[in-house]
Symmetry: C2
């Protein structure tokens, strides 16, 4: 039902009593729109920027997205999973580059993969899919100026015509990312807890082109990493044969964004620490000089919802560091959980929204902390012999018992809540410690003696009904 009224200040007041407004047509906004439209709601999606499908993509400007099991479950529910799978590169493991050479670490034991795709490409395909829904109305170049939380009324400005409309929706979703306008509005409410924490370092990106034969310049189907204790280089394969090379440095210090600024600085940095990629990347290092330093932020807040009217979703309420590759997956999972809650409550938004926020919040706090820890792991531990031994032991346990799984496995290749994945990891940690305590374990890793010791440990777990 649309009710157009004359309004003294803004010319037109549009009141929709059964229409949901989403602010932000990024990844999560588009996916949420499709989930809601599929459930029968009329959806208006307002995006401040122009339609990315009509604009040249900004190169060198975003870490690649990695999609995994929990992200795809949500995408499959709205029928776009397979389409997107085709546009991703499967990544089966990481290649660690150190001065001693390369070492490959598979992500899973059974050929499991995570799926890499550029943020821009993923956003365009999701918008294409959303635009095909007759219940979804995409409005680009529309800025949300203000929100009346109690009535779910928005003041929206068409940035092309300058015209301002008041729009009353049945519900408003803030899917407008880490710098969310909707959240800023909620932040002024009493009892709104909020924190934003910047990583004490930033990154710069450049695109390493495909070879002259159109091939990838490094092994594809893997993420390449050059850990250096307090800085690192990452390289993500793209479908077109290129790699996105992301250089993470602290802001200040001996080797930092403050000290490394000229072509020569970058050249000597690569010559000293990343020599195996130097000749390949040298012609492109000016891009590092020119490109901006990107920052990384963790955002935690609570509550995520206001009455039966307003809710935050995705990065707007839980921006996390990208190091566990879970940001988009968690945002897509939010959409699915929201709809599950709404269905369980038979469409009663007042009942469903608090369940949505409590179910997601506790899990997002955990993945936020895991993502921050994983940054340390990637930079510091990943090339370390004990860390590698630990990974080998995890794989061994997993081979000997099909139910045993690592934290990384449970986070990336299952849809179990992050709380559950962490709980299992805390229990599993004991097994790994018991194995690490075996004298000379590294040398007898493949001995029958160790196999039977592992089986006895696993059997004890079964006997005590502990999870693996």
């Amino acid at each position: 039902m649309v009710d157009k009224l004359n309004h003294p200040h803004v010319g037109v007041m549009e009141a929709y009593f059964d229409m949901i407004v989403i602010i932000g047509a990024g990844l999560v906004g588009a996916v949420l729109a499709m989930h809601l439209a599929q459930a029968g709601f009329e959806v208006k999606l307002y995006e401040q920027r122009g339609d990315p499908r009509e604009i040249e993509p900004q190169l060198d400007r975003s870490i690649n997205i990695t999609l995994c099991e929990r992200g795809f479950r949500s995408l499959d529910l709205i029928g776009v999973g397979d389409l997107i799978r085709k546009l991703c590169i499967p990544i089966y493991g990481r290649v660690i580059h150190t001065v001693e050479g390369e070492a490959y670490q598979p992500y899973g034991n059974r050929n499991e993969a995570i799926y890499s795709i550029g943020r821009y490409d993923l956003n365009c395909i999701l918008l294409d899919c959303a635009a095909r829904h007759e219940k979804i109305d995409l409005c680009f170049n529309h800025k949300c100026l203000d929100i009346d939380m109690h009535t779910a009324t928005l003041k929206i400005q068409n940035e092309i015509t300058g015209q301002i409309h008041d729009i009353q929706a049945s519900q408003i979703f803030g899917a407008d990312g880490a710098y969310s306008t909707v959240r800023q509005k909620m932040q002024r409410l009493k009892r709104f807890n909020y924190s934003q924490t910047y990583l004490n370092g930033g990154y710069k990106e450049l695109i390493l082109p495909a070879t002259e034969w159109g091939d990838w310049p490094l092994q594809n189907n893997a993420i390449h990493m050059w850990p250096q204790d307090n800085f690192m280089l990452l390289a993500f394969p793209n479908l077109d044969g290129t790699f996105t090379c992301t250089l993470h440095l602290p802001f200040e210090g001996q080797i930092s964004h403050a000290s490394i600024t000229t072509y020569e600085d970058y050249y000597y940095l690569f010559a000293n620490y990343f020599p195996d990629i130097l000749s390949m990347i040298a012609p492109h290092l000016t891009r590092y000089v020119e490109n901006p330093i990107e920052t990384l932020i963790t955002i935690k807040c609570f509550p995520w919802t206001f009455k039966d009217k307003i809710a935050l979703i995705g990065d707007a309420c839980h921006a996390i560091y990208p190091f566990y590759g879970q940001g988009s997956n968690a945002g897509f999972e939010d959409c699915q959980i929201l709809l599950e809650c709404l269905k369980a409550d038979h469409g009663d938004w007042g009942a469903a929204l608090p369940k949505y926020e409590t179910r997601c919040k506790v899990n997002m706090d955990i993945i936020a902390d895991l993502s921050a820890e994983h940054f340390e792991v990637l930079q510091k531990s990943i090339g370390d012999p004990t860390f590698r031994l630990r990974k080998k032991l995890e794989r061994k346990l997993q081979l000997l018992h099909p139910d045993y799984a690592s934290l990384y496995h449970n986070v990336s290749f299952t849809c179990m809540p992050y709380t559950e994945a962490l709980r299992l990891e805390q229990k599993n940690g004991v097994l790994i410690e018991q194995l690490l305590a075996v004298e000379g374990i590294e040398d007898k890793l493949d001995s029958p003696e160790i196999d039977s010791y592992i089986l006895s440990l696993l059997f004890d777990c079964v006997a005590e009904r502990k999870p693996f």
Copy 2:
């Protein structure tokens, strides 16, 4: 030097090249103005609200301020300490009310006191003092609309005339409290870390009048406390014979602001849990029904300063819960430390501001956490026998050795940094644990045997050059 220029948009642009603007004429704003004026700076103090000295005070609306050593040190430096001491009530200890009766706990061993004063009275006297400085210009009803951080230019609106001025200052200080406009401006900078955390409970206040003879209705020179595990009542004496009675309840739950709302609810709450004050307070309980629920917030952020131009001070950068009585004291100490840093750097703001923020930040993080912990102590532990024994042991240690001091003592009766007070407490904790481990310690607390044991422990500390 004042340079009035015509400005196309706002009519007048005032550029002051040697004048400091403070936003917020609350307690810290007024004290900072006096510190800066005394150092020779011209100061303009803009306050959005009207002059409190011309407005009726809002009754029942703020926890009493308790001033202590570190607050007075800053006030003495600007020559207003003694004036304010005369307007305070000295508080020598707390009276704990439980079903078993009353118990008095002195704050110090040597008659030390903290000093209680109403926020409104303190603000008025500080503004009176500031107004007498020829270098301080107080401007009430002036709202800060915007700040250009790079040029220290403010857009200020006179809320009476509606006129907007652009004002360029040499430095801008945000002394505008927990909901600081200046901080909101800084919050949009990249790499600004920020958190706001609300206490999961709120309070209501009422004023318990003086007796008909003008006397205090409860023992004055003490704070009265009725701890009840997850809620509590506090009563602070005022100079006019009244007491401010602050009722802290959780927001939700069996006994909470959600469940206690009518006169009858409050009556039965007091009858059940605070029976000794029931007859006195019963005639006034409607004020609890009418008065709003006040919330309590902890704010942490960093950085506090921007280049040589902008700085936050007081609650604007470190709002803390009031339970340790340190909020205003810490804010006044900020002013003193700022001036110390500036003098050490011979007036070089670019050098002094980073030193000011790093010196204060680490201490404020600690007192913020201590204040949150102290809420739990007040509600849960203060009536507890082990806690009381611990307090007795602390007093005993202090009596036997003049250098030993409790955390409360070091925070409230010295000016040592909070970091140092906490470090000493962590070491002292070991002594208390050793004493608590003595069998039957409670009964032989005053025996010569225990005295000599304590002295031997203290002697060991001296021998090992451990601090007490």
